[in-house]
């Protein structure tokens, strides 16, 4: 755990849309955020709470009205320490909501190869990168020559993510990667994200509405409301803070919510369970006494 390196730190950042116009809107106020290497970080909160805006600050697409963002990664700053936007865009792989909308090439292979080709690499290098990204995302080789538009939504999303991975980013940012997928595809994608972290030692930021995936996958969770970070910490710290979650109206994990009801009927838990296994262990311990 000591080897964890800070990749991005955001300090007291404010962000305002349409500044100076009648439609002005403060999207972020006083946000502090940190991203560490090889960690999965989740952002949860209601729609309009500023999650997507925060995520767009991460690769320098948008600049904050005030506050400071620091990138501590290799190769994104020039000698003077100024950030090179072009490098930043690829160092932080951004996967937008419904990434399948960005696919445009004739074949799956060409689409994944779009990024590496922009970097003017040799054909051999490109092929190696494309096949590696495809393997990481679990895209089978016989799909490579197919048109991406014949594929199902879930597979197409994998292709789109593979296209971003082919840029060999140091961090992967996913804005609601599960949106619109069926439960089986969601599980598969969740597993893939964990494998990605294992295999590439990459850090992942995920915006999610699904608390269960956030709890199961993340090392660190930020919980947002009205442009502020209201709650942050490990999944256990966040999801066992039932009072605060109730106040924020984020909702509870099924296990935590069941445990709360059980507490009312007299069952005591040593630590607030956040998944089914912990809940069962807690109940057995209570009755085993």
């Amino acid at each position: 755990m000591n080897s964890k390196k800070k990749l991005i730190s955001i300090n007291n950042v404010n962000f305002i849309y349409n500044e100076g116009l009648p439609t002005e809107c403060q999207a972020l106020s006083g946000v502090n955020f940190e991203l560490y290497s090889s960690e999965i970080t989740s952002l949860i909160g209601h729609t309009g709470s500023g999650k997507s805006t925060l995520v767009q600050l991460l690769n320098g697409q948008r600049s904050p009205a005030s506050g400071e963002i620091k990138w501590h990664m290799d190769g994104v700053c020039d000698q003077k320490g100024a950030v090179i936007k072009q490098k930043l865009c690829t160092a932080i792989g951004m996967v937008f909501q419904y990434p399948e909308d960005q696919v445009f090439e004739e074949t799956v292979y060409d689409d994944i190869a779009f990024g590496p080709r922009q970097l003017a690499k040799s054909d051999g290098e490109i092929e190696a990168t494309v096949l590696k990204s495809a393997d990481l995302m679990g895209i089978s080789r016989d799909l490579m020559k197919r048109s991406p538009f014949e594929l199902s939504g879930g597979t197409l999303r994998k292709v789109a993510i593979a296209g971003v991975l082919a840029m060999k980013p140091q961090a992967l940012v996913l804005d609601e990667p599960m949106a619109g997928l069926d439960p089986v595809s969601c599980d598969a994608l969740a597993k893939l994200l964990l494998e990605l972290r294992e295999n590439l030692d990459i850090s992942i930021v995920m915006v999610s509405h699904n608390l269960e995936y956030a709890a199961a996958l993340s090392d660190r969770i930020y919980c947002m409301k009205d442009g502020r970070i209201e709650l942050s910490g490990t999944p256990r710290e966040v999801f066992s803070n039932i009072e605060k979650l109730d106040e924020l109206k984020i909702g509870f994990l099924p296990a935590a919510s069941l445990a709360r009801s059980l507490k009312c009927s007299g069952i005591k838990f040593e630590l607030n369970p956040i998944n089914a296994a912990e809940l069962v262990r807690g109940i057995i311990k209570h009755y085993g006494k």
């Binding site: 805006t53 990024g115 922009q118």
Partner: protein, 270 residues
């Protein structure tokens, strides 16, 4: 999306002109346009200019909005003026340089063209400043209604316009999103080579077309599933009937272009 895109130049101030019937406003625009072309003596251009500023004041709009609409056309104005000044035939030569001659007639003609183009743009801008896109297409439908006799699909035409206007902001957001997504994959849109630059837009255009077709398809299905059958027997949720005020406004416009028409007829018979 938090980003609101104001379509066209519509500036709601809730004035009487904003509330007036779009049909009458479109007819008024036509009348004023005709009057611009009827001007035979230069002082009448200033009369029409004063009229447009008067309308602007009633609409409770600031002159800045009008100037903003004219800004992109400055080049056109200057070009028409210069072309007319430099190439018009005339006897009274004021200045000569090579093939270029500046004549008195040329100056007058240049001034006339300049005033005509600016007045046309000013009146059209006044319409779009005071009428929302939806009202505008409603008004066009009303105006085209007589064409139904010759089997012109008036309702379908108006619907096409409404949909086209409605989806402009959506497409703007879409382009922005796709552009950023492709940038994350290393796309570069600022290549100094023009051909490369044109090529770099393919990754934006293809996804844009695909999502637009998909959206059009979904819209068609959504409309059909709500029993949309075209204009036949269709009524409006907000039914607007032209009242006294609307006809009063039309009468005012007619009255205000009366001097121009009279002047035209007098000069015509000369």
């Amino acid at each position: 999306m938090v980003n609101n895109i104001i379509l066209g130049q519509y500036m709601p101030t809730g004035s009487a002109i904003h509330r007036a019937s779009p049909k009458i406003k479109i007819i008024s625009l036509f009348l004023l346009t005709f009057s611009v072309f009827m001007v035979k003596e230069q002082y009448l251009y200033f009369y029409l200019l004063a009229l447009s500023i008067f309308i602007l004041k009633i609409a409770k709009l600031k002159i800045n909005f009008l100037l903003k609409g004219l800004k992109p056309l400055i080049f056109l104005f200057v070009l028409t003026f210069l072309l007319n000044v430099l190439f018009a035939e005339g006897d009274k030569i004021l200045y000569e340089w090579g093939i270029f001659k500046i004549t008195q007639e040329g100056l007058i003609q240049g001034f006339n063209f300049f005033m005509r183009v600016s007045l046309l743009v000013i009146f059209a801008t006044l319409l779009t400043l005071t009428t929302s896109p939806v009202e505008l297409s409603d008004g066009i439908e009303e105006c085209l209604r007589p064409l139904k006799i010759v089997k012109f699909p008036v309702h379908e035409f108006a619907l096409m316009m409404t949909i086209a206007l409605r989806f402009i902001p959506t497409l703007v957001i879409e382009v922005d999103k796709i552009k950023r997504a492709q940038q994350a994959r290393g796309a570069n849109f600022n290549d100094s080579n023009l051909i490369n630059r044109a090529k770099s837009f393919i990754p934006i255009l293809i996804p844009l077309f695909i999502t637009s077709f998909k959206r059009a398809d979904e819209l068609a299905i959504a409309m059909e599933s709500r029993c949309y059958m075209g204009g036949e027997g269709r009524t409006k949720f907000r039914h607007r009937k032209d009242g006294f005020f609307d006809y009063f406004m039309l009468a005012l416009v007619l009255a205000s272009i009366y001097p121009v028409v009279c002047n035209y007829l007098i000069n015509f018979h000369k």
